[in-house]
Symmetry: C2
Subunit: 189 residues, 2 copies
DNA sequence: GAAAAACATTGACAAATGATAAAAAATCAC
DNA sequence: GTGATTTTTTATCATTTGTCAATGTTTTTC
């Protein structure tokens, strides 16, 4: 499975084979079942995950017990609770597998070490931050100027995998609406 | 006015006086009137601004002509359309002064140059990205799990300057609701 | 494969928010 | 300062979205 990460680095970063080997060797394979939890609210996030197969989501639970999904990572995407991982402080999010998944994980200590050792790891951090920023930016934009139905159509265009592969419950929590509202939106098409 | 930026760097970054001088010398003062536009949708964003006095906002206009405010910078904060600035591609946002303001601006070319020359500028970029990420993250979280009224109360707690210093029109566009809804929310307290 | 659990849909109703219009208040321009 | 312009408030009504409850469907578990 490390082949997949090597290919990912080779395709997306300006780097060398040696650097790739060094960075990838810091990752360990982890296999998780559907619904298995990787990080709990209150934990300090100790790992960043690269998704080889399957999918993983980050979500909040509010005071009334309602879930709200912030981000969903599919194949060849990274996921972590960035702020908690970087600052090593407790997170207010959960991370769990939304399908059975094969992951590669890297610990905070190892990440810090290879960040000092390789420019690939530094670039990776910058890229992760940029991608995370852009993702939230688009999401925020969609909440600021779209109705629930418009957000659904937009999601169908820009990230259909979420709708195709995951349950309505999760799609609804990603769109910030109830399952019932999502059911109605889908029915009226 | 460059004193203010020097103090800001000295207080918030691990750096040297020489580096601060070098970075700050790349900024130029710019005075703008209230409602003056700094960046138009479709422009490639050529500057990053540091707010010395006053306030500046970044906002979208949707198909129906409705404004939605993404970010508001007050004293000692930076503002730009990060993605457009970094990639030098057109932005879909506007940036304008929400009060008369004194700014320090740095061009893309100068920013790129001092990023190569000083670690302070590199740290500044990383910090800007982290702050921008966290800001959007909180904003997204508030849309995912709060009602309009809850978002208003949350804003009053976490960033009262927006409510105290700016018009209802802008506050409403920041909360993603209509002015009339905001009026009602304020009345029912 | 059957029972249990989780998930999805539908309907009736309630609550929140938007749209429109008009009046009141505040601000701006000269 | 005064009239014009913009912003804010208020009211009414329409639409969207949420809540609750019932039922049907799918998935999980043993």
């Amino acid at each position: 499975m490390t082949e997949q990460l090597k290919t990912y680095f080779a395709n997306n970063f300006q780097t060398t084979t040696a650097e790739i080997e060094q960075v990838v060797s810091a990752f360990k394979e982890k296999i998780v079942k559907k619904n298995e939890t990787l990080i709990l609210k209150g934990d300090t996030c100790r790992y960043t995950y690269f998704v080889c197969k399957g999918s993983v989501r980050a979500y909040f639970i509010d005071d009334e017990g309602q879930e709200a999904t912030r981000y969903i990572a599919f194949e060849n995407q990274f996921i972590t609770t960035i702020h908690s991982f970087i600052s090593q402080t407790p997170t207010n999010e959960f991370i769990e597998a939304t399908e059975k998944a094969v992951l590669l994980e890297i610990s905070y200590g190892d990440f810090k070490r290879i960040t000092e050792e390789t420019s690939l790891a530094r670039d990776l951090y910058k890229r992760q931050l940029e991608v995370a920023y852009m993702t939230n930016h688009w999401r925020l934009e969609s909440f600021l100027k779209m109705s629930a139905k418009q957000r659904y159509d937009f999601l169908l265009q820009t990230n259909p995998a979420i709708i195709q592969r995951l349950s309505n419950k999760i799609v609804a929590s990603y769109l910030g609406i109830t399952q019932e509202s999502l059911s109605r939106i889908k029915a009226q098409k």
